[in-house]
C-alpha cells in the first residue's frame, strides 16, 4: 500500500495528570480514536480518525481531553489553501467524488450579518412583550383574492386549506435514514408541544409517528419513498420536493450502509441497497407537469390539505417561484445555498445556489409586483441561526422559516460534518442502534422546545422594540431593516436602505 499524503485534521490532547484510564472515551468513540494500551498502561489516540465531534471531551469525567486543529500546516498560501491541497490528495487516492455533510462552510459573505433591525424611539412607541399581547401565530396557505363578510362579521368566503403555526418556525425536512428514529421522535414531539410542524423529509413516515400527523408535513420527492395512502391521509400538508439548498439540481443518495431493516421497510427498498432519489422527478419536465402533480395530490387529499413545493434558491428563483405559485402551490419553501444535508458532493454544496436572503427578497418583490403574493406563503430556509435571522427573513418577505441545522445542534450536533459516514456519535445522523440510543428523545424534545420558545420570546422582544405587536405587520416590511457594508446593488435587490438613510 503506498503512502497516504493526508495528515490528521485534528489532534487529541490528553492531560495525563487528569486521565484516570476509565476508558469512557474509548467506549464512546465510534471512529475508534481512543484505545487502552496494556503494555504502556495508558490511553493512546489515533489522531487520523478524529473528526472533532467532542463526544469524548464532554463525557470525560475529569475533563482530561481537548481536541484541537492539528498543528501540522502547509506553507502559507492564500490560494492553495490547506483544504484545496488536501481535497486533491483525497481524490488522487480514491478517484471518488468528495462527499461532505451539513451546509456550505466556505467563507461567502453572510448577509444576515450585514442587516440591522429598527427600533422605535419617540414617534412610534415600543411595545413591551412581557406585559402586552403579542401575536406570533401565522397561517400558511393560499389566501383568497378578497374576503366577504356577513352582517355578523363572520367570514363568508370559503378559505383554502391553511396550516396554523403558533410561532413562525418549523422543523425542516430531514429524512428518516439520514437521521435516526430517536431524532425524528424528538422533532415530532417538540412540534406537537410547540404547535408547529415538522417535515418527514423524503424517507417516508415511520408508523410509530403517525400519531403526530396533525403536526407533520410529508414530502413527496423524486424517489417517492414511503408515499402511500396512509402517508398522504395522515399528514397535515404535503410538500413536493423539487430541490434542496445544499445540492440544487442533483438527486439524493442515502448510502447502503445507512439502509437498515427499518429504513428498508419504511422506504420499501431492499435492505443494504443505496436509496437513490433521481435528479428530476421524471414526471415533472415542465411547469405544467408540476401543476399536474400538485393537483394530483390535491385530488388525492380531497383538496383538504395544503400542497407546497420546496425549491433550492438558484438564479432566476423569482421567475421560478412565480411559475410555481401559478401552478397551484399553496406555499413555496425556498432553501438557500447554506442549507444542510446528510450527504452531498462537496463541490455542489459549496458552489451551487444563492443566498436565501436575496432569494426571499427577490421572490417576495416579484410576487408582489405581479399581484399574486397572497396566493402562496413563503417559507425561508438555508441556515437560520438565531432569532435575529428569523426577524430579518420575515422582514424580507417570508411568512415563516424552516430550521434544521439549528435543531440538530440543539439535539447535540457538533458540526463535525461526517453525517455521511453514519457514525454520528451523538445518535443523530446514524442508524447504528448502539449510537442511536445516545439521543434520548425525552431529553431531545425538551431541548428543541426550549430553543424554539427562547427564540419566540426574542422575536417578541424585537417586534416590541420596533413598535409592532403582530408578526404579520413585519412580513415584507423592508423599512424595518437597514444594510451595513453592502453595495448599492445588493441593497436594491434586498429592497432595503443603507443605515443612516
Amino acid at each position: 500500500m503506498s503512502l497516504s499524503y493526508l495528515t490528521p485534521e485534528f489532534k487529541v490532547l490528553r492531560d495525563y495528570d487528569k486521565c484516570i484510564n476509565c476508558k469512557v472515551c474509548m467506549r464512546q468513540c465510534s471512529f475508534e480514536v481512543h484505545s487502552y494500551d496494556e503494555d504502556l498502561d495508558k490511553m493512546v489516540s489515533n489522531d487520523m480518525n478524529c473528526v472533532n465531534c467532542q463526544r469524548c471531551v464532554l463525557l470525560c469525567p475529569t475533563q482530561a481531553l481537548t481536541i484541537i486543529k492539528h498543528p501540522q500546516t502547509f506553507k502559507e498560501h492564500a490560494n492553495w489553501t490547506y483544504d484545496a491541497i488536501r481535497d486533491i490528495y483525497r481524490q488522487a487516492e480514491t478517484g471518488g467524488v468528495l462527499l461532505s455533510s451539513m451546509g456550505n462552510d466556505r467563507p461567502y459573505p453572510v448577509y444576515w450579518d450585514k442587516m440591522v433591525i429598527n427600533a422605535s424611539q419617540v414617534t412610534n412607541p415600543s411595545i413591551d412583550p412581557l406585559r402586552e399581547p403579542m401575536e406570533l401565530r401565522v397561517y400558511l396557505g393560499r389566501k383568497p383574492d378578497r374576503i366577504e363578510i356577513d352582517e355578523n362579521l363572520n367570514v363568508k368566503t370559503k378559505m383554502p386549506p391553511q396550516l396554523k403555526l403558533e410561532t413562525p418556525i418549523m422543523f425542516s425536512a430531514m429524512s428518516y435514514g439520514s437521521i435516526s428514529y430517536n431524532a425524528h421522535a424528538a422533532l415530532a414531539r417538540a412540534a406537537e408541544e410547540l404547535g408547529i410542524l415538522y417535515n418527514t423529509g423524503e424517507g417516508g413516515l415511520h408508523k410509530d409517528f403517525r400519531k403526530y400527523g396533525k403536526n407533520t408535513i410529508v414530502q413527496v420527492a423524486s424517489g417517492r419513498f414511503g408515499v402511500d395512502r396512509e402517508y398522504l391521509n395522515t399528514a397535515a400538508a404535503i410538500e413536493i420536493k423539487i430541490g434542496q439548498g445544499a445540492k440544487p439540481g442533483i438527486g439524493g443518495h442515502l448510502p447502503g450502509e445507512k439502509v437498515s431493516e427499518d429504513i428498508s421497510a419504511t422506504r420499501m427498498i431492499p435492505s443494504g441497497s443505496d436509496a437513490i432519489s433521481p435528479a428530476p422527478h421524471h414526471d415533472i419536465y415542465s411547469i405544467e407537469d408540476l401543476a399536474q402533480l400538485i393537483y394530483s395530490l390535491k385530488e388525492a387529499t380531497d383538496y383538504q390539505k395544503p400542497v407546497g413545493v420546496k425549491i433550492a434558491a438558484v438564479n432566476n428563483v423569482a421567475a421560478i417561484a412565480s411559475g410555481i405559485a401559478r401552478a397551484g402551490a399553496d406555499y413555496i419553501a425556498i432553501d438557500g445555498f447554506r442549507g444542510g444535508t446528510g450527504a452531498a458532493p462537496k463541490r455542489i454544496r459549496d458552489n451551487v445556489g444563492i443566498p436565501i436572503e436575496f432569494a426571499i427578497a427577490a421572490v417576495d418583490a416579484r410576487l408582489r409586483s405581479e399581484g399574486i403574493r397572497h396566493t402562496v406563503s413563503l417559507v425561508a430556509a438555508g441556515s437560520i441561526r438565531n432569532s435575529a435571522d428569523i426577524v430579518k427573513a420575515i422582514a424580507l418577505g417570508a411568512d415563516a422559516v424552516y430550521i434544521a441545522t439549528a435543531a440538530l445542534i440543539a439535539l447535540g450536533c457538533h458540526m463535525c460534518q461526517k453525517c455521511h459516514t453514519g457514525k454520528c456519535n451523538w445518535g443523530i445522523a446514524t442508524q447504528d442502534p448502539n449510537l442511536v440510543k445516545r439521543l434520548n428523545p425525552e431529553i431531545g424534545y425538551k431541548r428543541l422546545v426550549n430553543l424554539v420558545q427562547a427564540w419566540s420570546h426574542e422575536i417578541k422582544e424585537m417586534l416590541g422594540g420596533m413598535g409592532i405587536n403582530d408578526i404579520e405587520s413585519l412580513k415584507g416590511n423592508r423599512l424595518m431593516l437597514r444594510g451595513i457594508g453592502m453595495t448599492q446593488k445588493e441593497l436594491d435587490i434586498l429592497g432595503i436602505l443603507a443605515a443612516g438613510e
Binding site: K18, I20, N21, C22, K23, V24, R27, Q28, L58, L59, P61, T62, D432, P433, N434, K437, R438, N440, E442, I443
Partner: protein, 149 residues
C-alpha cells in the same frame, strides 16, 4: 421506597455510572483523587450488563424479602426497617460469598481486595445515588414506582 430503575433503551454503555459509584464510595470522594491516589480503588457496587446494542447497569433491588439478608452467616447483611435499604456491614462481613450466590439478580460483587461483599447502598450518605446523578443520558431514574414516574 425509592429505588434505582434503568431505561435500557437509552443506556449508552459508557460506564460513567461505575466511575461515579467508585468515586462516591472512595476516601477522597473526588474522581481524580479516587483514581490516582488511592492504591486500592473501591470496587464498584453495580454490575454493567452488555450485549451490544443492549446495555444497562444493574443495582441491588433492595428486595422486600432479601435472600442475601436471610442467608448471611454473620448478620452483616441487614435491611433497615425504616428506609428499606439493604446494606452490608463490612466490619462483620467475612467474605464467604453466600450472598453473591444467593442473589437472584447477580447484583452483589465480590470485593476481592478487601474480602468483603460489595453492594449498592443507594448512596445513603449522599442522599441521591451517584450513578443516577451522573448518567449523561438520563438512563437511570431514582423513583418510587418504576421508570414511568
Amino acid at each position: 421506597m425509592k429505588k434505582v430503575y434503568v431505561k435500557e433503551e437509552v443506556c449508552v454503555g459508557c460506564r460513567l455510572c461505575e466511575v461515579y459509584c467508585i468515586t462516591s464510595h472512595s476516601k477522597y470522594k473526588d474522581v481524580l483523587k479516587a483514581y490516582k491516589l488511592e492504591p486500592q480503588r473501591p470496587t464498584p457496587r453495580i454490575v454493567i450488563e452488555e450485549n451490544r446494542p443492549v446495555s444497562f447497569s444493574l443495582q441491588c433491588r433492595h428486595c422486600d424479602d432479601a435472600p442475601c439478608v436471610k442467608s448471611c452467616i454473620t448478620g452483616a447483611m441487614r435491611k433497615d426497617p425504616l428506609t428499606g435499604v439493604v446494606t452490608c456491614d463490612t466490619d462483620k462481613c467475612v467474605g464467604c460469598w453466600t450472598c453473591v450466590l444467593v442473589c437472584e439478580f447477580g447484583a452483589i460483587i465480590r470485593d476481592v481486595n478487601n474480602k468483603v461483599a460489595s453492594k449498592c447502598d443507594l448512596c445513603a450518605e449522599a442522599g441521591e445515588p451517584a450513578c443516577v446523578k451522573n448518567c449523561p443520558n438520563e438512563a437511570l431514574v431514582y423513583s418510587e414506582g418504576g421508570i414511568s414516574v
